[in-house]
Structure formats: structure tokens, C-alpha cells
Amino acid sequence: MPGQTLFDKIWERHVIADLGDDYALLHISRHLMHDGGGRGLRAIKDAGLKVRNPDLTFATFDHIISTEPGRTHDTLRPYAQRLYHMRDEARRWGIKLFDLGQPGQGIIHVVGPEQGITLPGTLLVCGDSHTCTHGGMGAIAFGIGATEVIHVLATQSLVQRKPKRMRVNFEGRRPAGVTPKDMILHLIGVVGAAGGTGYAVEYAGSAMRDMEVEGRLTVCNLSIELGAKIGMVAPDERTFRFLEGRPFTPTGAMWDQAVADWRALASDRDAAFDRAVTIDVGKIAPQITWGTSPEHVIAVTERIPDPAASGDPDKQKAMQMALDYMGLKAGMPIQEARIDWVFIGSCTNSRLSDLRAAAEIAKGRKVAGHVRAWVVPGSENIKRQAEAEGIDRVFREAGFEWREPGCSMCLAVNGDTIGPGQRSVSTSNRNFVGRQGPGGRTHLASPAMAAAAAIAGHIADVRAL
């Protein structure tokens, strides 16, 4: 019998009951909530149900809050009521809530690892598709829908079908200017936006082992853009170093016991995967998307592809529609695209290492006169640490705006939007039609590439600055 994968090992220890047909009732060891999902607590109340394990649920505000400097709960009037409601319900049930201005507030997928809530070997869910991010800690983590949230609140369990297993081997060394974001965008370009559908993806290989935890979180974050609900990386010494001493990580003898357990989670050498892809990281250049699906991605040095060159008529049609929406022409060097906005933030790229990388580019330079550039740190803690390091000053002096932590312009639900027809380079994860505001045009890139674009005023190769 072949060995087990990282995924199999964690899955197995959470099975409460085998329901046949590859379905299982799974125990949920961590449940995270955000302000976009307050409906769940209301529904529990309305249905007369109980929150079964408030001790295993954690909440924060991120999606619908203002990110304006000096914000309060009431800055965005229409949503203030929802925040108050969620806070009341959390208090009533005893759910830990990280409130505005408190350490621990921030984008839920930044907060989980940062607080040590997300631990290796956990099965973690949240009513948000980018829950796959937490897999970078060596957990099974996936997004669920609103009804599933109610199921988790009421029963601390979930009915799921076991996915197939896929391994992506990122081998080799990252060339200068190439970041974890570029690796995952490149992968999506190679296998397509549905390339991971039906799989739990394990990212492995020398380039993943050499990568710090924050980068792994970025890679796992875009698993859903690959079609996979789950992306994960085996926990190792880097993971343990990252976690030690965080507010919710175990301490003392319990820590040693936990680490010993986590060391055994890695996929067995002879573990079988249903699909395997190998990527030579040494051949990747900084990436930028040109269209309206994350699979519409090229190296920044390339020209915008010609739909006519695609053999598949359906792909051709999709590419042409994307070009029309984006206001771009096939064959044009992507660096000629003039931009209006830069957004550095989101659960993909708003961690300290991301802000440092962008600040390094911004340092001593100026944002182009016609560009508005925002930096939105992923959490209150990151904001404070960045300010202690003087990173906020570097950005401000270069002409970037420094905001309060939240999802902001990644989803644009809080009114942080770009205008119709405007073009933005964004470090977030979705370049969908209208994602950053109706009619807005989004190009996804790494923090360094976004900073470079802000300064150049058009899409630019960070290596040429």
C-alpha cells in the first residue's frame, strides 16, 4: 500500500463518520468568521440553534469596514449595524472577536496565522474562498458557503467529499525579482484556472522548502484561482519558527508535544498523487495578468497574446472578450499599458514581507503624477510593525496613501473602488470583471511589481528600475 499524503493524514484524523461514496462527516478544529458572514450568527439565533464550540471559532472585521485613516465603526454608516450585531452575537456566545483598533484585527486570512490560531494539522474552515491561504501552515483549510457556516456553528462538523490529490513541485531557485506571487500566477497560466478543480493541492519541491511561511501563504492563497478549494505546504522548521510565541500557539511541554506531532505530517516518500506538475522556478519571470481570469497571465516582458493564435475557438472568444473589457490590443507590449491605480494589500500580499518588498522599490522614488497608489496593511499588527520600522514613512514620502487594515480595494465592497474604465495594478488575487468596481480593469502582480508600476505610471518590469 502506498504511503499517505499530508492531506490524507490530516483528513483522516478529522473523520467523525464515513458516509460512503468518499463522503465523510468531518470535525472542524478551527472556524473563522468575518464581517461579511454575520448572517450565520443571525441564522443560528433565528433557528433557535446553539453555537456548539464557541471556543473553536474566531472572528474579525475586514470586508465591510472602512480603511480610511481615523475610521470608526460608524465611518461606513450602512454597515455599522452589521458590525454591532456581529459584536453582540460574538460576545453573547463567547466567540473571540478581534475588534477595530485591537491587535489581531485584520484580514481573516492574515490574522489566523499571525495569531497562531491556524496550526499545522488543523482542519480549518471559513465562509470565504481564500481560506485556502491557511494551508500554507500545513493545515487543511477551505472556504465554505453560508449554509455550511451554519452547519459548522451548530455542529462543529461538516459533510464533505474527499478530493483527489495533486502535487505541484516547484523546483530550483527563484531568479531576482521573482516572488512567490509570480510562481503561483505562472502555475495558473500553465495549468489554467480550472487546472486544480477537484484536487487538494500540495505545493512541494525545493523552492517551497526554501520559502518562508509568508510566501507559502501567498502561494496557497491563489489555490482557489487554480480551481482548487485546498492548497497546502508541509509544515517544517520554518513553520515552527514562525509560530513559536504567537498569542494562540501552545507553550511549554504542550509546544514540544505539538511540534513532534507536526513533524510527522509531511507526505510519505511513497505517497501517491492523482496528478503531478513540475515547474522550473528558474525559468519564471515577473508575472502580470492581462485579462479577466487569473489564467490570462504573461511575463512582464511579453506582448499581449493574440486570440487568433489559440487553436480553441471557445478560448479565442473568451480572450477577445477579455481584451475588449480590458481595453487592450493583441500584440501590444504589456508595459505600454498606462495605469490609474495601484493597490498593495489583500490576503494575498499584505504581510510585512510584502510591504517591505514594495517599500524597497518605493524608497527615494515618486509615484507618477497621474497614479493613485494605496497601501493597505493586512492587519493591525502588521500596520504597527510597519510603522515601527518606518515603512509607512517610505510609502508616504513616495506619494502612496497609507490606510487602515482591511480587505479594501481587493473586493471593493466597502466603497474602496476604482472608476469605470480605470486601470489598476493590484497585489490581490482576482482580476474578474468589475472586481475592483464596476467597469474597473485589474492587473494582478507582486507587491514589488505593483510599486514599480506606481512609479513608472504604466505596467513596468521591476528588474529594470
Partner: protein
């Protein structure tokens, strides 16, 4: 939940790849519109022209497909976000079944939670179905763009009379056929949940030190 047994209804082809959940229901609608009123905003970016009139290029706006309760879509339908509003929006426009080669994984689960049947079929078969539907709307055709989806039998019947079989997981099928509520079902398993948790507390105690 409304049971799903047999659905004999108009079906509309929406053959575009990677239709994401931001297209199925834009986030600001989800924010501002009540769950039961989302129907008019489903597929908003594709469905309306800038002046808010119906976009004639959008299949579900065409007279032949008006009132369609089945959507036939291309790869990776409703990829993207976890928003269950994507299902509520298509339900709001009367849709109870989507047929596609692949789906966004969270949307796929959300469908079952709401009594909507997502059917996954090989792409050639989906293209064949879409082809028959389009043919049925052409002048001179003597059939209608309708499909019959029989969940008991697990078949889709096409306008030509051809039948295609599909797979659906046993427990999902059972729940749809009977309109079962998953939360209520799981609550009956409380003793098993408690036993599992007791064991987990003993073997991985650090997971429970959360205060």
C-alpha cells in the same frame, strides 16, 4: 429545502468559460439586496447594456430561452468566491439545475445546500447538449430548447430524444430527492461528534487551548 425529482424545463446555453461568481452576482448587489430579491441581478454584467436595458446577446434574454430553469455552461462555471448568493441569484431567476464540464468547488457544494442540482458531464457531451438547444431555436426546427432532468434515473433527455446519463454522489442525491436539511441530520449524530472530540482533546490537546 424543496425536493428535486424531475425537472422538465427550458434550458439555455451560456457557453463561456470561467464565468466567475463576481459575474453571477456582483458583490455590491449581495451587500444591498435581500436574498430573495437577487434574481434580477444574476449575471448582471452580461445581462444588461449600460442603459440597463436587456442585452440581446445574453442567451437568457432571448425569447427562445425566456424562463429557462436549466443553464448549460462551459468549464469552471461559478469559479471564484464562496458567496452562496451566486446560488440564490440563479434560483431567483428560476434556475434549478446547471450542467457544465466543471464547477467552482464551493459553488458546487452550495448548490446542494439549496436544492439546486449541478450536473458535471464531459465537455463533449455538454457541447452536444448546447448544440441541440441552439438547433432547436432555429427557424424551421420542430423541437423546443427543453431538457428533462430525472434525478431518480440520473438522466438528461435532449430535444432529439437522446438520453445522457450522469453521476451524482449518493448522499447528495438522496438529500435532493427528499429535500433533507443537512444541519438537522447532523444534529442527530451528536453522540458521535462528542466522542470524536473527546478523543481529539486527548490526542491533540493543544488544539483546545484557545483562551
Amino acid at each position: 429545502m424543496k425536493p428535486f425529482t424531475v425537472l422538465d424545463a427550458t434550458a439555455a446555453p451560456l457557453m463561456r468559460q470561467n464565468i466567475d461568481t463576481d459575474i453571477v452576482i456582483p458583490i455590491h448587489r449581495l451587500r444591498d439586496v435581500a436574498q430573495v430579491d437577487l434574481g434580477p441581478y444574476a449575471f448582471e454584467p452580461l445581462r444588461y447594456l449600460p442603459d440597463r436595458s436587456d442585452n440581446p446577446a445574453f442567451p437568457l434574454n432571448q425569447p427562445a430561452y425566456k424562463g429557462a430553469e436549466i443553464i448549460v455552461a462551459d468549464n469552471n462555471f461559478a469559479c471564484g468566491s464562496s458567496r452562496e448568493g451566486a446560488v440564490w441569484a440563479i434560483m431567483g431567476m428560476g434556475v434549478r439545475c446547471v450542467i457544465a464540464p466543471s464547477f467552482g468547488p464551493i459553488f458546487f457544494n452550495n448548490c446542494f445546500q439549496n436544492g439546486v442540482l449541478p450536473i458535471q458531464l464531459p465537455r463533449e457531451q455538454v457541447l452536444a447538449i448546447a448544440g441541440e438547444l441552439e438547433a432547436a431555436t432555429r427557424p424551421g426546427s420542430n423541437s423546443e430548447p427543453r431538457l428533462t432532468v430525472d434525478l431518480e434515473e440520473r438522466t438528461v433527455s435532449l430535444p432529439s430524444g437522446r438520453k445522457i446519463s450522469f453521476q451524482v454522489d449518493g448522499i447528495r442525491r438522496e438529500a435532493l430527492l427528499k429535500g433533507l436539511d443537512e444541519v438537522a441530520l447532523t444534529l442527530t449524530r451528536e453522540p458521535e461528534i462528542a466522542a470524536h472530540q473527546a478523543k481529539a482533546r486527548a490526542t491533540t490537546p493543544w488544539l483546545y487551548q484557545t483562551t
